[in-house]
Amino acid sequence: MSFDAIDAAWWSILFILIGGWLATDIWRWLGVLLGNRINEESQALVLVRAIATALVAGVIAKLVVFPSGSLAETHWALRVGALAFGFLAFQLAKQNVMVGVVSGALALFAAIAVF
């Protein structure tokens, strides 16, 4: 039963609520219940934070290496290069996030315009 399977407003809404909202929020709720059992000072929290960080880093890399939409039409080397350039600028600017993001975006813009 796909998104377009039934041509009715209630079906599209149900599809979004079950396939999207419920599929996302059950993990947030489980996170609350798991977090209730974790002591703030424990090594367990350090481990949980490390796993959460590695997951988000995986999302970041996927958004750059395997993107969707208009970004997918650019060469991967331009995207990875722009990401590295932005990160370098961020480090040189004493870890200023805004400097990093603007530099990376400008680098990508210039690279697409040139190549």
Partner: protein, 240 residues
Amino acid sequence: MTERADIDWFFKGAKNLWSPAALILMSAFVGFSALARESGIEIGHAMLITISIWALPSKIILVGAALSGTGLAATFLAVSLASVRFIMMVSALFPELRTKETRTTTMLFLSHFVAVTSYVIAMEKVRDVPREHRIAWFAGTAITLTLANTVLVGVVYQFSTAFPPIVMAVLFFLTPMYFLTSLWASARDDVVKFAMVFGLILGPIFHVVLPDIDLIASGLIGGVLAWAVGYLAQKRKSVA
């Protein structure tokens, strides 16, 4: 007295809407709105997807599934797999926000508004907020972000066909660029930095090798590796 102060802290949190983090997130949502329109998703659905899922990667997966005619069960599974990280992000975040009096129902409600941006803002600034007001401050921060971006998606939807592809490409690129730098800047210890490096390397590898469980695999393996490296480095330091 405390209630009054909680309301003040809620609005202090809401002001994070004008932080660089939130502004960059909003530009990413401009990108999402354009993607939804490009994909033929109706405006009301695009807004419902925004407020009900909130996490950008899961939203993109849902739009992709709707577009390709994927069934509801398979869509549920794909979005679930992309959202498993929340069990870790929420359980890392809420121990920093709650007091002994915080009700679990309050946290269950607030957890809906957790996504990378609110997580990063909270991890960066929560230590400057008195413990008893952290829940109110986080509620102000995260709920405001969600509602503002839902409205933004609706407004941008009307205009987005006017964007040239190069602008769209750069808008989509802002999200990973911002996640990378802000997560690094908010890292409090080396373990988090190790975890980032491992996750960045493992994410694309597992996307090719284990496409169905790529994020969970890179999170678990990268995270445990980072924790072990950090633990050993700490041990060596304390011996020397």
